[in-house]
Amino acid sequence: MKKAPFGKAGTLESNDVLVTVELNEEKPLEIELESIVKAQFGSQLMHTVTTTLKNLGVAGGTIRIIDKGALDFAIRARVITAVNRARGGEAL
């Protein structure tokens, strides 16, 4: 059976981020962003997420980000892991 293109990484702990991805090439890319520092870092967060997705070649689907004040490297790592899990868990 083919795995659903769904992946999740991260936690809701302070300084972490919970990333959920549902890959779907036929749909446009939709990013939902929730963050305790949205007022201060909203656009930088969005930039980090979109750049990471682009590097991974993700072009469509729904990406959900619930950020609890994570730093950029943590956000990148969580996004990469969530996407890899959705793609069937292949190693980097």
Partner: protein, 518 residues
């Protein structure tokens, strides 16, 4: 448009506010001297046999002649267990009275129940040390009051009351225990909170003073914090406080390794300053690293047989342990933070209650803050000019309290701020703080997990640190390091509307708080 002028910390301050009058911009920590006093102590009259007992809060308010436009004061020793402000304001609203200014010593999140009274025009002015929770968010994002909120320090508040800048019509004293003739103490009953330091200026200067208690004790109360000579009416009312919200069992030292690291470094800086000598004095603010500094200092005091003269401020169980161990000769207490502190102020004669004026008022004949050697402070933000913010978040929304920050920073020989470079993703060391509460001129040292920075104005301290082998960095380096990790935060979007004025302890205006667009 109101005329704006730049004050001594470079903030634009309106020279006049409609309904408030002319404002004096901040000129420097000790640049402003008080004008003539604006207060007349009121003679009163009492006939033997005349009772002060009143059936209800409403009856007491009526007896005091409650009317539109009056100022009611409260104290915050019940902290987030305080139901009294809400109860009294519900009663005021039910009486159809409007346009009231409330002057509590601080507001907590439990006071969000006041929001409907603010929206309906029952409350139109607020003077406080701080505001937290939903009520703070609403006040920061909507311009609901007739005049801006005045944020005052713990020393600035009694200054305003004693000088007559704030005229209190009715002071409401939430009393853990009181007798029928109005003697009050804070150490008995279910709502025992210890020191009643913040309420003393209110009771002394208000036109009318009402004591509300749920624990009536036989006359005379003993000990007495607020005496019968100041009290007009006594009301017994149930449910004025929730002991769960008033105090915790015992304050513990943080186990967070980063906070401990900062505290350890702060202790090294304090020792390198050379101030820790026989009879030195000490105060530490609240916050993870601050109290932990006392922990490290305690080891040093034991090992070197150093006995301090006093520790002051809000007192917790840890400082009580140090008192009982003989490491401090006295505790000077404006507010007890835990059950152990309350027990101590009850039984230890050298654990003294002090009024907020005695503690920190710059315009009396000398306050305890001016006798401090070492002061450890926390910060929500600190900038490269060493200005400190403890009142608004970096999103511009009110979330904290001025407290004794600027009072003790100005008064102490060594004011040392302990803070991490960033919390979550928010940098703490920044270019410009969102709101200035304490001017950089009062801050001597910043200690972070990445290094110790000395205020360039304190060349003497820098030399002493060097002589004692303590490494320092420039505050700019710390700021850049923080920003490199977190990125540069976007400034909050604000309108021109001033929703709050941050008063410096001397009554001048050090900053404004603008309405935030969410």
């Amino acid at each position: 448009m109101t005329k704006m002028v730049l004050n001594a910390v470079g903030r634009a301050i309106p020279t006049h506010i409609k309904g408030m009058g002319d404002l004096t911009p901040f000129k420097g920590a000790f640049a402003h001297t008080p004008g003539p006093m604006n207060m007349t102590p009121r003679a009163a009259w009492h006939k033997p046999g005349q009772s002060k007992m009143t059936e209800t809060i409403r009856q007491a308010l009526e007896n005091c002649g409650l009317a539109d436009g009056m100022t009611l004061s409260f104290h915050h020793h019940f902290r987030n267990g305080d139901h009294l402000v809400n109860m009294v304001m519900d009663e005021v609203a039910a009486m159809g009275v409007r346009d009231i200014t409330i002057a509590p010593s601080s507001l907590q999140s439990i006071h969000e129940k006041l929001i409907p009274h603010i929206r309906s025009g029952v409350i139109t002015g607020i003077q406080t040390s701080g505001i937290r929770g939903e009520i703070a968010r609403v006040l920061s994002t909507e311009n609901l009051l007739k005049t801006p909120i005045i944020i005052r320090s713990h020393g600035g508040r009694p200054r305003a009351i004693e000088s007559g800048d704030t005229k209190i019509d009715i002071a409401i004293i939430g009393a853990p225990a009181a007798d029928a003739f109005g003697n009050v103490n804070g150490v008995e009953g279910p709502n025992a909170c210890g020191s009643l330091g913040y309420a003393i200026a209110d009771a002394t200067c208000a036109t009318h003073t009402v004591v509300v208690t749920d624990y009536l004790i036989p006359y005379p109360a003993c000990p007495v914090s607020i005496p019968q000579t100041l009290v007009d009416y006594v009301v017994v009312a149930e449910g004025i406080g929730d002991p769960q919200g008033i105090v915790s069992g015992a304050t513990r030292i943080t186990r967070n390794p980063m906070e401990l690291l900062i505290a350890e470094k702060a202790n090294e800086a304090i020792l390198a300053s050379g101030l820790v000598q026989q009879d030195f004095s000490f105060q530490a603010g609240t916050g993870g690293s601050s109290l932990a500094v006392a922990h490290f200092l305690r080891q040093h005091m034991r090992e070197n047989n150093i006995k301090g003269s006093f520790a002051s401020g809000g007192i917790n169980g840890y400082l009580v342990d140090m008192l009982e161990e003989g490491l401090f000769r006295t505790l000077m207490d404006v507010q007890c933070f835990d059950l152990k502190a309350i027990e101590s102020i009850r039984k230890n004669p050298n654990h003294m209650e002090m009024s907020a004026s005695y503690y920190a008022n710059p315009h009396n004949k000398g306050c305890v803050a001016h006798q401090l050697d070492v002061m450890v402070l926390s910060a929500t933000e600190i900038d490269v000019q060493f200005n400190v913010n403890v009142i608004t978040g970096s999103n511009g929304i009110i979330m904290g309290a001025s407290g004794g920050h600027c009072d003790t920073a100005a008064g102490s020989k060594l004011a040392i701020v302990v803070a991490p470079l960033f919390r979550g993703r928010l940098p703490i060391v920044v270019d410009q703080v969102t709101t200035v509460v304490t001017p950089g001129e009062s801050i001597d040292v910043l200690v972070t997990e990445y290094g110790v920075a000395v205020n360039p104005a304190r060349t003497d301290l820098k030399d002493r640190f060097r002589e004692n082998g303590l490494k320092t960095v420039e505050i700019h380096e710390l700021k850049e390091r923080a920003e490199k990790v977190t990125g540069k935060p976007t400034k909050p979007v604000v309108t021109d509307e001033v929703i709050g004025l941050v008063e410096y302890r001397d009554g001048t205006i050090i900053d404004t708080i603008k309405k935030v667009v969410e």
